[in-house]
């Protein structure tokens, strides 16, 4: 197990990184499946979840498929019209900011639920996220989180729901909560087939400038980033060929115009990696 000294060392290094990079706040939650080591720095502090909330949507979509509510190869009408959690008024997501032009080309037609899940995670498509959440329903998704015993993730609405945002209705998460969400994805909550598919989707993430950027080239990461004006997060499962994976949730908050936000998350990822890899496996210490 990681020693108290090592844990304190990581704590100090992360605090120092936060200070040096002018972060308003950082939170880190960590679970090393090789040693059982758990670490939490402000793990219970709430942040705007940004696009990390899409992992909660992913869990609920696959849970619903496991429960036979639909099939992943079913088709869904692609429509850019959603209803605000604030007052049910309609709104649209901005297509300019979405990295999935192929999905936009499907507006009016249909897309497979599995393709939408992929676009929501790998391209962080807001359109796909809202389509899927609209389909399964916020109440259902919240129930799934409860059933999965995920605490610290508050899913309240779709993304780009500015009307709800103005009324303070936001998706929020803690680092501990997002860590438990990732743990639920790889645990027994989903069927083995769904679990494999969910991890595969997360492994195909296109945005790799945060957790993966702090790791050696031979690491692979099943992860999801989340960025808005003040928040910059990355949560993921880090796979290294020489050892069992570890799960990390890195949440940060900055003033809106601060540079180097992603680099800060990457540096935190690097610090975690160095800290874990410098320790002996649990079996050697028992």
């Amino acid at each position: 197990m990681l020693s108290v000294d090592a844990s304190n060392g990581l704590h100090e290094e992360l605090e120092s990184l936060a200070l040096r990079n002018k972060a308003r706040a950082i939170a880190v939650a960590l679970h090393d499946l090789e040693t059982g080591f758990r670490f939490s720095l402000r793990g219970d502090r709430w942040f705007h979840a940004a696009s990390t909330i899409k992992v909660a949507v992913l869990l609920s979509v696959f849970r619903a498929a496991d429960q036979g509510l639909f099939r992943l190869d079913d088709s869904l009408h692609v429509r850019n019209r959603f209803f605000s959690a604030a007052d049910r008024s309609p709104f649209r997501v901005s297509l300019d900011r979405d990295a999935t032009p192929e999905l936009h080309a499907s507006i009016g037609r249909t897309a497979k639920i599995s393709s939408l899940a992929h676009a929501m995670i790998c391209g962080s498509s807001n359109l796909a996220a809202n389509l899927l959440l609209d389909f399964v329903g916020v109440d259902y998704a919240r129930t799934v989180l409860r059933e999965a015993q995920v605490e610290g993730v508050e899913l309240r609405r779709g993304v780009e729901d500015h009307g709800a945002h103005e009324q303070g209705i936001n998706n929020e998460a803690t680092a501990d909560g997002l860590l438990s969400l990732l743990s639920a994805l790889r645990g027994e909550f989903l069927t083995a087939e769904s679990k494999r598919e969910v991890i595969r989707i997360l492994l195909e993430q296109r945005f790799n400038s945060m957790i993966p950027a702090g790791l050696p080239a031979h690491a692979t990461v099943a992860h999801k980033t989340g960025e808005i004006s003040t928040a910059c997060h990355d949560i993921g499962i880090v796979y290294l060929p020489e050892r069992e994976p570890y799960i990390a949730a890195i949440l940060t908050e900055f003033d809106p115009d601060t540079d180097g936000r992603r680099e800060t998350v990457a540096a935190i990822s690097g610090a975690i990696y160095r800290s874990l890899l410098s320790t002996k496996p649990k079996s050697n210490e028992d």
Binding site: R71, D74, S75, L76, P90, R92, G108, I113
Partner: protein, 198 residues
Amino acid sequence: MRTELLRPIDGLRLAEECRALLRPGESEAGADGTHHHLPRFFYEIGSWEEAHEIRLAPHFTLAELMLVDCREARLLLSQFPHYVPCTVLLLARFLEDFRREVGAPVFISANGGYRSPAHQIGGAKSIHAWGTAANIYRVGDTFLSDAKSIGRYRAVAASLSPAVFVRPFGREEGQTSDHLHIDLGYASLTPRECSEAG
């Protein structure tokens, strides 16, 4: 049009599980208190290939008017034959007129043609369950997603027949903001070879 592929059937003769979903000839109350009989006569479609082959009008295949997503009842979604009200012929004819008038291809959205009474969107309360309504999301290269485009094409559609209803642009109930809804009312069509007795 390959008319030999259009096989009319009396919905009352369908298997019970199908009848339970399509509710042929049943009366349905609208939100405004009016009552209408759901379609009783359908064309039986053997496969998607058939649906693509059946050209109801020069520029409209049957497939375009029966594309639904997974909010449709599982039995009707994933098993053939599919059943589409015979009125879909009238709808296609009207859409052809509309297309000629606007001089550009007209695109019908998924869930925008016939939806069964068991479809999760609108169900039997929706006029889409009569096979007389279409949601047009694009005309040529123009996506109908603002007041200007919807207003423009609404005027064209409404000018073609007094029987046509076109929803106005807007974000309130009964209005549309991302497509043009047109419908021909609660029309029914009984093919010549079918009897309404019984």
